[in-house]
Amino acid sequence: MSDKQEPALSRERAEYLRKVKIRKYSIFATRILILVAVFAVWEITANLKLVDPFITSQPSRIIRTLVNLYREGDLFRHIGVTCLETVAGFLMGTILGTGIAILLWWSDFISRVLEPYLVVLNSLPKIALGPIFIIWIGPGPSAIIVMALAISLIVTILEVLNGFLSADPEKIRLVQTFGANRLQVFTKVVLPANISSVINALKINVGLSWVGVIVGEFLVSRAGLGYLIVYGGQVFQLDLVMTSVIILAVAAALMYQGVVWIEKKLTKNRQIYGQL
């Protein structure tokens, strides 16, 4: 424990800790090396015309494209539109999905009634619904957000509900012996015991929301990273496509890290020892 004075390390312990450290650094260094190598090979082979940069693009052109987009003032507009749509889809998917999961947990009857519908909706490729949303809602950000929602909602419901249903029946019995009603069973046992499955749903949702938004932007949009990719493809501007994909990768990774950060906040202090 941290509040106790550490005794002097034995030679074996020091040796072990040194090895752990070396390993950690070498993993990190190798990761960086791979990244640098890929971009270097890409750049060099394109410069030597071993590959056609018109088709593969190349890092220096990507940087140029990035700078141009920034100068024209479009860069952050496109990133902003896509991120906003994703966050909206993600939040709605999470809140609505968790809400519906609570309802289904609450009523076994409703849960049984809806089961076959959920199974069908879950296996249906939601992208097929795209044209329907566009006609119903009209082309624009709303249709894109609904697309993202459609992709993440069912998975969230099933994931969270599964977590709720796996709550230890003996722990539920325990609070019932104190006379707990259904709401108390939920708030005292089922929800706190399942913070991790809610967070797992969040993690899956981040990825799915991105899929939904990009597909939505492919189908209908005038701005956003998905729009840039489709547009770039149509005018055979691989520089634009590659640039957008890389921005997308960075943005998605950042949002995922955000969820990991929330997870750390929520589970702070809990099970510190249990997980070792």
Binding site: D168, L174, T177, G179, Q184, K188, I272
Partner: protein, 256 residues
Amino acid sequence: MAEELVDVRNLGMKYQSPNGEIDAVRDVSFTVNKGEFVSLVGPSGCGKSTILSIISGLLKPTSGSVRIGGEWVRGTSRKVGYMLQKDHLFDWRTIYQNVLLGLEVRGTLNRESRERVLGLLKTYGLYDFKDKYPNQLSGGMRQRAALIRTLAVNPDILLLDEAFSALDYQMRIAVTDDIYGIIKSEQKTVILVTHDISESISMSDRVIVLSKRPATVTAIHDIKFNLEKRTPLACREAQEFPGYFNTIWKELDVHV
């Protein structure tokens, strides 16, 4: 004359399921006096726990009735504290938050009840651990915390449902002594359900032997030891112990 606290009369329970009907308990009657420690002993799966669930009000019997302190049991009663097989401390709560659970659920958490719980923690040596999480405590201390959680709501009667059987043997003997001491000093009435004959004899004033399913009362034994200070461990070594053990063993009629 001792004051009668629990009156179980002609209790019957049949479970219904799509696959058929299970006759779990049939015509069980007994009473428990205030301050008494009574064990229900029976083979595994005989319906002992069903009887406890009915007394606690978690389960409605198909026939018969239970009265606690003269009142009919309808739904979970505030007079009853229930201890399950495992301690079921919530690992997302500290020990202090865990023992407050019952008060929270019942909506009786106030300055006075908090003081009482802190007093219990102090008396039974858990005060210094109150801000620790359950997985930082030993099995024995966890069991003690679970008992304090039950005592926190100040029940008249404690129902122990195989309360120690999740522990390994040595731990179990030690914990039994520990919990017994606390229960006696709090002067609680107890009904213990167990399949362990030794455990029932060593702790109880009275042992009620139940038959295989459907559970019926086979025999009732008053357990008396000639000991200055009775503890479960001392009882296990007392000369009366083997006699009780053999009688109950025969009545349980165990076949492999």
